[in-house]
Symmetry: C2
Subunit: 197 residues, 2 copies
Amino acid sequence: MRVPGLLPGEVARPSAPPERPRRVVEIAAAARRILEGEGAGALTMRRLAEELSIQAPSLYKHFSAKAALESALIEDAMFDIGDVTHRALHESEPDERLASLLRTYRTYCRAHPNLYRLATNGALLRPSLPAGLEEWAGNPWFVVTGDASLAQALWSFAHGMVILELDDRYPPGSDLDQTWRAGAEAFGAVARGYVGR
Amino acid sequence: MRVPGLLPGEVARPSAPPERPRRVVEIAAAARRILEGEGAGALTMRRLAEELSIQAPSLYKHFSAKAALESALIEDAMFDIGDVTHRALHESEPDERLASLLRTYRTYCRAHPNLYRLATNGALLRPSLPAGLEEWAGNPWFVVTGDASLAQALWSFAHGMVILELDDRYPPGSDLDQTWRAGAEAFGAVARGYVGR
DNA sequence: CAAACTAGCTAACAGCGTTAGCCCACCAGG
DNA sequence: CCTGGTGGGCTAACGCTGTTAGCTAGTTTG
């Protein structure tokens, strides 16, 4: 089911920020390649420079610090996740949306574990983010629950599940599909109003 | 309400591992002091040595690597959390236990943010943990839900909430008390069997 | 044509975890 | 009594990290 326009409660995608200079895009792409392919430990300024056949200090002509580079990757990740989750809503029937959102989120995160860890680990440098990005990326959770608190709770559940799964934190032998189902059921019941609030 | 003995579904506390040598205990205590007081960034081998008025390389007479030191702190944290959460169950009425568990968990984590981050960030070095510790520490979530999947889902929710709160990840102005309540309600309803599984 | 900007370079610094090798105090056994 | 082992410290140093200062060649712009 493809539904054009905005769903009830849906918010519009923010415009990407003042476009990045050519070289900045190339560097960010290389950084993402290293991060996703070789892990966070491999993403050093020297390794990144090598990937681009330049010297590490030259990177500082384009990024003021490693943290700024990482912020760019985080921003990209948030746009990615927002795109993927909003699309999931548009492509599923109303009563399938919660399950679809969870499934989509989990799938994306497992496909990009290092990027996801980078994006969610530690404090967020909010002021440097494009205006509206955070709200838009989090919006699907609201669309699916119809309530701000429940949306945050559901997202927290999903993030907890994902990060613990990526870090292999569940006891060996856990049936995570079933755990996701259990959580989806709990939130689904409340979201559908089976239990008064 | 103090209830001695084991609750239904409750598991016994594992014995602490072969006791640590005197000096090891002192070093771990100093490390915890630095971590909790000054943050993860301050916990370096040199800073830790300084705290003990020795030189950094001397630490390697007691810990094979920084990771081993951290493992000791993580082990302590898991015992702490297990103690605190098990106690919460024993001190509350059956139908208050889920809410009490969540409240207790949140309170502990906010009181020890850096320790909690250390303990939950990244992969767990399972083989070096005392046998049964992981299961015992996670047991309250099972006691409270009566179901393994629901227990994992509830714990994932709690972890997600805590870590996002500690890292200041919720949009400014969020009412987190209410978010916790929303999640507790969702899981409480399912755990009480309002919705068939 | 000169000035300014872009984007690279080398050399270097401080801080990180960690290793090698030395040394002294203590304590048990012959 | 002395001798060997062990526990627990030391200094020097290595390779890695992010980052800075200062130089330079090429391109663009007034």
